[in-house]
């Protein structure tokens, strides 16, 4: 089995889908001739042509809106927002047209929106966001967030096969830093959570770039405690069963969010645990999240707000001792 980076895994999924299914169409700014801002589609035009790897005008609403049109006449468009932050320009089309269409009209919109997300490299307020919560809150849209190379490929295949609009949160920080064995060919990862590391005294629940942060934070054993790390992988649908199972066994929970704390995905997980996992709790549900600020540019400021290994470790220690 080949070892690929997270980014190569995404490319691999896109390439395999373009080969396997005539209906698949990639749309985005600078993805064709230039190969993409992050080189995800580097070389694609040579194999698939400029029609199927489309360089669009600079128009996020246009990209999402036309993709919806293409989707309802039998294509499988995979749109890219160059940075997830720019989805706000296409918010209306995604939430009001795509998200609500099946409920209202019984018309499926098989659309994928790739959203390169997250900070940690001085991208500043408009190139560092994690906007998944906006779309978890919008009925009719699924949201997935891989943290490993294998899941990056499998979830993207599954998203493209899904007949509904899917936001695919690919984390920029993981593009080249995460490597792993990735099966070749087309395969699907289900929209469920995954136990990244089993444990019994406490569970850290995370997704995306916060999964490697969590694994590192608990890697030195934390004074002999047995800590579980649960990788959510799918935010809509949220794997309630897996979350509640971890909570029942571990009874102590730390949730890590790189997104701004208020109403982040982790807030929904915390609410779920309070409502359905109450009987299993041996301590308050703790959240480690970015405070409600635009992501700052200068490194000391940015590092101070994004959840790092030390903050997560400290939160685990305190809760274990409670």
């Amino acid at each position: 089995m080949p070892t690929l980076t997270y980014l190569q895994a995404i490319s691999s999924a896109l390439r395999d889908e373009l080969r396997a299914d005539d209906r698949v169409l990639l749309m985005g700014e600078d993805i064709g001739v230039f190969g993409g801002a992050f080189k995800v589609t580097d070389g694609f035009v040579d194999e698939f042509g400029t029609d199927r790897v489309m360089d669009t005008p600079l128009a996020e609403s246009g990209i999402i809106g036309t993709a919806i049109g293409a989707a309802v006449v039998g294509m499988r468009p995979v749109c890219e927002m160059q940075f997830s932050d720019f989805i706000s320009c296409g918010f209306d089309q995604l939430v009001n047209v795509a998200g609500k269409m099946h409920y209202r009209q019984g018309l499926a919109v098989p659309l994928v929106v790739r959203l390169p997300s997250g900070g940690g490299f001085s991208g500043g307020p408009f190139h560092s966001q994690n906007p998944e919560a906006w779309f978890m809150h919008s009925p009719g849209i699924k949201v997935v967030a891989p943290s490993t190379a294998e899941d990056a490929k499998g979830l993207l295949h599954a998203a493209i096969h899904d007949p509904n609009p899917v936001c695919y949160m690919e984390h920029k920080h993981l593009y080249r830093r995460v490597k792993g064995e990735v099966p070749s060919g087309v395969f699907e990862t289900p929209f469920t959570a995954r136990v990244a590391q089993p444990g019994s005294d406490l569970v850290v629940i995370a997704y995306g770039a916060m999964v490697p942060v969590a694994l590192e934070a608990v890697s030195d054993g934390l004074d002999g405690a047995s800590v579980e790390v649960l990788d959510l992988r799918s935010l809509v649908p949220l794997d309630e069963e897996a979350i509640l199972d971890s909570v029942e066994r571990c009874s102590k929970v730390v949730i890590v969010d790189e997104a701004n704390a208020t109403c982040a995905a982790g807030a929904q997980v915390a609410a779920l645990i309070a409502e359905k996992g109450f009987e299993s709790l041996d301590g308050p549900v703790v959240r480690v999240a970015t405070p409600d600020v635009p992501i700052p540019f200068s490194p000391p400021l940015e590092q101070a707000v994004l959840p790092g290994v030390d903050r997560v470790r400290e939160a685990c220690r305190e809760l274990l001792a409670y």
Binding site: G65, A67, I68, G69, A70, Q105, G106, K142, P163, N164
Partner: protein
């Protein structure tokens, strides 16, 4: 800067005659009569408290949708807006289902999930509108994009109003369609008002001129002449299928009722309303057909009977089951694309229906 007011361009109807049989011309009148009759009946039901929410109609601008939609083939796709009921009727949506839809019944096209004209029968190739009106322009552009990518001889048609031309999606759609030279027909229903906002508060340039700015043809048409509207739609479709790109059709008309049933349009000068009443699209088509020997009274009677039967059927239908309120947010099976609609124009029959 002069703004383009209510002066429709002449012509269009003469060329139309070449392409319309007498049956076609009667069909056009039927579609308008059915639209107006249904909307009047629905308004009455609204005043009886049987139609929840708001009620919108296209009184006085029936020709815009009837004419343009009549030029669309079975494989073409439509994004229909709230004053374009005739387009739904031409595609094959039945009057009973429309009245059920207005009354929020289980038998409506959206089964109670969306109201009034926010519907589109996907099996007949119609996409249901959203309230952010010009959004649909991008969807139509996207459909046209797919047709072009696949080399198919089909087009997409989308309706929108003068107000929509101020929003970003109008510009993104026009630009995209122009840059990619897509087979899409943009039908701008310039009915003089966006709710209470008149044209001179909406744009500084007549929007038909914007077509040139985006690289394609824009034409102004008498929106109250159903045969001229048909001809404009037919020509635009021909252009699209020939690979010559989009067309913007500015249909000049007048919204004769308020923005919605709850709006008495006091902001419209009485003289303007009176002037446009003389140009009523139904009266004009009736006059044409009378001089061609058609029995208008019989036609009207059959329309009324059809509407009465539809109302009876709709009123007998059940309300939706509350237990189903949270169903259907996601598609659980295969994604089915839009289906084909009816296309009663004789021009399609003579071409084997596959134009």
């Amino acid at each position: 800067m002069a703004t383009h007011m209510a002066e429709p361009a002449a012509g269009g109807a003469d060329t139309a005659i070449e392409h319309l049989t007498i049956e076609d011309r009667i069909w056009l009148l039927r579609a308008m009569l059915l639209m107006r009759g249904l909307e009047e009946r629905a308004m009455s039901l609204y005043r009886q408290g049987r139609v929840p929410g708001s009620f919108y109609d296209g009184y006085g601008q029936e020709a815009v949708s009837a004419g343009a939609a009549f030029a669309m083939g079975p494989k073409d796709r439509l994004c229909i807006l709230h004053r374009d009921l005739a387009a739904h009727l031409i595609r094959g949506v039945t009057p009973a289902r429309i009245l059920s839809q207005y009354m929020g019944r289980a038998g409506g096209i959206t089964r109670g999930r969306d109201g009034n004209v926010h519907f589109g029968d996907r099996k007949l190739g119609c996409v249901g509108m959203v309230s952010m009106l010009p959004d649909m322009m991008l969807v139509a552009t996207g459909m046209a994009m797919a047709f072009k990518l696949r080399g198919e001889k089909r087009c997409a048609m989308t309706w929108f109003g003068d107000g929509s031309t101020s929003r970003g999606d109008f510009h993104e759609a026009m630009n995209w369609a122009g840059v990619q030279k897509l087979p899409v027909v943009f039908v701008l229903e310039n009915n003089q008002y966006a709710y209470s906002t008149p044209l001179d508060k909406q744009f500084a340039v007549d929007p038909v001129e914007r077509a040139a700015a985006y690289g394609f043809v824009g034409v102004t048409v008498d929106g109250n002449d159903v045969e001229a509207m048909f001809e404009a739609g037919r020509a635009a479709r021909e252009r699209a299928l020939a690979g010559d790109g989009p067309t913007l059709i500015e249909a000049v008309t007048m919204r004769m009722h308020g923005h919605a049933a709850h709006d008495d349009m006091k902001y419209v000068p009485k003289e303007q309303v009176e002037e446009w009443r003389k140009r009523d699209p139904i009266e004009r088509q009736e006059a044409r057909l009378r001089s061609a020997g058609v029995d208008i009274d019989a036609l009207r009677a059959s329309i009324k009977a059809e509407i009465d039967a539809a109302a009876e059927e709709a009123l007998a239908g059940p309300m939706p089951d509350p237990a189903t309120a949270v169903d259907g947010v996601f598609c659980e099976g295969e994604a089915e694309p839009l289906g084909d609609g009816h296309a009663p124009w004789s021009g399609f029959a003579s071409n084997g229906g596959d134009v």
